[in-house]
């Protein structure tokens, strides 16, 4: 039975004109398809690599490994205050320019210039080559032609994005479309208390987005996380979203409120009662200068009274969850092969004023982690069975509409890329 209205077509899937037949998941178990995705998607789209708060001063920098795009970038705040990104490659002999101890690990810091560990070639914060060791030994090297290779970099609402396609002409704002525009004005800059988690996951990157883009699984996989009576009730109820929406390659699901705060105290565990907090965040929302009703239009788009959380999927690999009690969670999925990826989950809160608020936030963070552990391990079980190719047709329900959209979007990017390649004149 329906708790929330669906579009007049009778389902979200048909409303978005997405095929309702079974899907194959061949796009998640093929090394060949992954190789195509690397060029078609990860070297061509805007990728979120961090936030401006990670670059507090002139000379602040961090590196980001983009294995799927066959790249490493160094993101830096210049002496002019601008945020730029460069390919992390020294122009002399191709050494990785910025790294500490382990070449494959990310690093961060503050500096006045980047000096290559190999032969001490030096670059300023704007990427200009400023020093060549024993310059007179070289053959007419014009330093102005050997600066770091710059990567398209733009900032949206404090989120730093890079685009590795030198021919890209789509501004970030256009790429992020109506969801990006409709979220603008959300007070992200006030949520500076950060807890970040990282995991190596044994599945295709799209499968983890699938897991977080539907909540149909929540009453079942996470049933053991609830009080027993509540678990049975939630299972019987099942899951229905308030609404879904799609805009180009991006999508979103708007969800009802769950447990913040609960109608009856008996619904939640004792620790949640004692701390007035849980998976949905501390129940008492901190002041962020906006009431729930004043949030930007893309947030709680149906303006539902029972709204609890919106989950935006910005293609390809950036998810943004905005929770009613004024906190934010982001997910990133960085592929490392067709069946592995690095998952990052980052919680952003208003900085706690006192010890009680700090412990309330700890409960929200630890809850996210415990649910994530169940999700991550289940994905490995899914990946191995998909790879067995025992079954290759899978029915998806209407609450899984965003999964269909994600996979068809990825396939569309790959198809277009192949067409472009076959149309290009042989060089």
């Amino acid at each position: 039975m329906a708790y929330f209205p669906k579009p007049s077509e009778g389902s979200w899937t048909e409303h978005f004109k997405i095929d309702t037949g079974p899907v194959s998941y061949a796009d998640s178990i093929s090394p060949d398809f992954y190789e195509l995705e690397r060029d078609a998607i990860f070297r061509r789209t805007w990728l979120n690599v961090g936030r401006v708060e990670q670059l507090p001063r002139k000379g602040s920098y961090f590196t980001k490994e983009l294995d799927a795009a066959r790249a490493s970038v160094v993101v830096v705040r210049g002496t002019d205050g601008e945020v730029r990104a460069f390919h992390n490659v020294c122009r002399h002999r191709g050494n990785k320019l910025v790294w500490d101890d382990y070449p494959r690990e990310e690093t961060k810091g503050t500096c006045r210039a980047f000096t290559c560990k190999y032969h001490a070639w030096r670059y300023d914060l704007e990427g200009k080559l400023t020093f060549v060791q024993q310059e007179s030994e070289f053959f007419d090297v014009d330093k102005s032609e050997y600066g770091l290779l710059q990567v398209h970099t733009e900032v949206w609402e404090g989120f730093i994005f890079v685009n590795l396609d030198p021919e890209n002409t789509t501004p970030l704002k256009d790429y992020l479309g109506k969801f990006g525009q409709g979220i603008e004005g959300y007070p992200f800059h006030k949520l500076t208390q950060v807890h970040k988690y990282r995991a190596e996951i044994g599945s295709n990157w799209k499968l983890f987005i699938d897991a977080f883009a539907e909540f149909y699984h929540a009453p079942i996989l996470h049933g053991g996380q609830y009080e027993a009576g509540e678990a049975a009730r939630i299972k019987k109820y099942g899951y229905e979203a308030l609404s879904y929406d799609i805009d180009g390659p991006h999508s979103m699901v708007s969800s009802w409120g769950g447990i913040a705060p609960p109608k009856e105290k008996a619904m939640v565990k004792p620790i949640e009662r004692a701390l007035r907090s849980g998976l949905f965040g501390p129940w008492d929302a901190p002041d962020v200068g906006l009431t729930t009703e004043q949030l930007p239009p893309a947030v709680n788009p149906t303006r539902s009274k029972v709204w609890g959380m919106d989950s935006f999927v910005f293609f390809p690999n950036f998810m943004l969850l905005i929770w009613r009690p004024n906190w934010v969670l982001t997910y990133h999925y960085w592929p490392t092969s067709y069946n592995t990826h690095i998952f990052e989950g980052t919680c952003y809160f208003v900085p706690p004023q006192n010890a009680f608020q700090r412990i309330q936030q700890e409960l929200a963070v630890v809850s996210f982690k415990e649910y994530g552990l169940q999700d991550g391990n289940t994905l490995e079980a899914t990946q191995t069975m998909l790879e067995s190719r025992t079954v290759d047709q899978f029915p998806l329900c209407d609450q899984e509409v965003l999964l269909r959209h994600l996979h068809s979007t990825a396939q569309g990017y790959v198809r277009e890329h192949q067409q472009r390649r076959s149309a290009a004149p042989a060089s």
Partner: protein
């Protein structure tokens, strides 16, 4: 020898080894403990937490003292210990096998 926690929380002193900085370390301690050990800590710490909302609300994080810092970490440990004790009856979340999700950025306190 001084106490680890503020005087009002003397009952926690036998569990001072739970006053661990960092979620990663607290989680490691939880998964290497027995349910009996987790239950013993929970049984003492949880009633204290329930009674201490007002105390904790009056502890400002700016310039927090050593004893209050230890108390904060112990209650953060209680948060992670509450999951096995209240819900699962085992130190690890069900169906998580060998998987891990590690804290890489955490608040200073």
């Amino acid at each position: 020898m001084g106490n680890v926690f503020p005087a009002e929380f003397a009952a926690l002193e036998p569990f001072a080894d739970w006053a661990v900085p960092g979620e990663r370390a607290r989680y490691a301690k939880r998964v290497s403990s027995t349910m009996k050990e987790l239950q013993a800590f929970y049984d003492v710490a949880f009633p204290l937490l329930e009674q201490s909302t007002e105390y904790l609300e009056n502890v400002s994080l700016d310039g927090i003292g050593e004893e209050d810092k230890h108390l904060l970490w112990a209650f953060c440990a209680l948060v992670t210990v509450a999951f096995p004790v209240e819900a699962w009856g085992q130190p690890r979340v069900p169906d998580s096998g060998p998987s891990s999700i590690d804290a890489v950025v955490e608040p200073a306190v």
